[in-house]
Subunit: 204 residues, 2 copies
Amino acid sequence: MEQRPGGRSARVRDAVRQATLAELAEHGYSGLTVENVAIRSGVHKTTVYRRWGSVEGLIADALELAREEPWPIPDTGSFRGDLRAIVRLVQGGFADPVAGPISAAFVAAAVQNGDAARSLHDFFMARHEQAAEVVRRAVERGELPADTDGADVIRMAVAPIYYRLFVTHEPVTERDAVRAADAAAAAARAGVIHGDPAGRAADQ
Amino acid sequence: MEQRPGGRSARVRDAVRQATLAELAEHGYSGLTVENVAIRSGVHKTTVYRRWGSVEGLIADALELAREEPWPIPDTGSFRGDLRAIVRLVQGGFADPVAGPISAAFVAAAVQNGDAARSLHDFFMARHEQAAEVVRRAVERGELPADTDGADVIRMAVAPIYYRLFVTHEPVTERDAVRAADAAAAAARAGVIHGDPAGRAADQ
DNA sequence: AGCTTAACGCTACTAAAGTTGCGATTGGAG
DNA sequence: CTCCAATCGCAACTTTAGTAGCGTTAAGCT
């Protein structure tokens, strides 16, 4: 009756997760197939289908793994510097030949599959909350209005990167990243990205 | 040797295009299949495969149709008003039960297929260029610095909408749209979104 | 150690996606 | 009007994705 997280199941899960990431890095999302993951992991095809259901299930599971590892929140001393560092970290991640395709695959999978979308949603909520730390510090330093919505500042800063990558399919340079960060910083400083009067704290 | 744009081919193409849009509106991108489009259009499955190749090809073609029809660029008298109107138009489009799924399908298809990505790229380049008109007017009125990058202001304004919809999968309210527009306006007014010194006019 | 059973491996099967070859239309030029 | 070639319709086929049934393995408990 009890689960068996300590034994074979755990080994299988790890093998499949790792194979999924490796396949994603090599062939991207459109080249990801259950059969190839099964072969690479040494786990049988039927088993993968039983436990993960589909390609999107594999990705949703890999996302949980990605969510666990924390994020280096910068502390440069200035708000503009922190924000620039965050956005450049995002841009650099997508430019990386290994991490880039994997991250892009997560976004691509979530566009199609509800489970992956939920996983990605949770992932970003955690990221926004972590990154909002730089806004809190800026408020304490008096650089920003007290009612600034931290998570929304992060959204404004990184959104143009994702917009270029996944919507308009334009190239993204480091210069674009810096500009997006500066734009969000300017808007925050102008007091435009303020917290809501009505309770909207819990999104969704 | 010559093409035959006037005859049967044109009829077939129109039928398939229309069937594609209808199927997208009903079942969304994940429910779009070549076979159903073939049945609905009255065109044989093989023919659709030969001319469009795949589901993504169908969408890429439908996109060209969408690109042709022009866009109502607002003229409210103030830059902030114009920008708000544009972003709310985008947000409203995705909220529409008919246009929403179709637009979302375009984005979803482009994430996976190179042809669809190119089509969508061209589509947005045209849109940005058209919408940048509101920035030009604002510059003439003296509301913005002369070297403001019009297309980039539009990008900053609409990016958070797409970011929420297709990346973080958060709900998008009208309030979010207004805030995104105001943030971009504030950044533009602060002179952060300025044109490049080195020639980067031709993107890509 | 021995037992129980959740989880896995394997083969065979079904369903759906996509392809091929050929004969039938049809638009357009002489 | 006649002919030609591009395009389409059609049926059969191949390939790939996903499922079902059943025997086998091994984790965890006594």
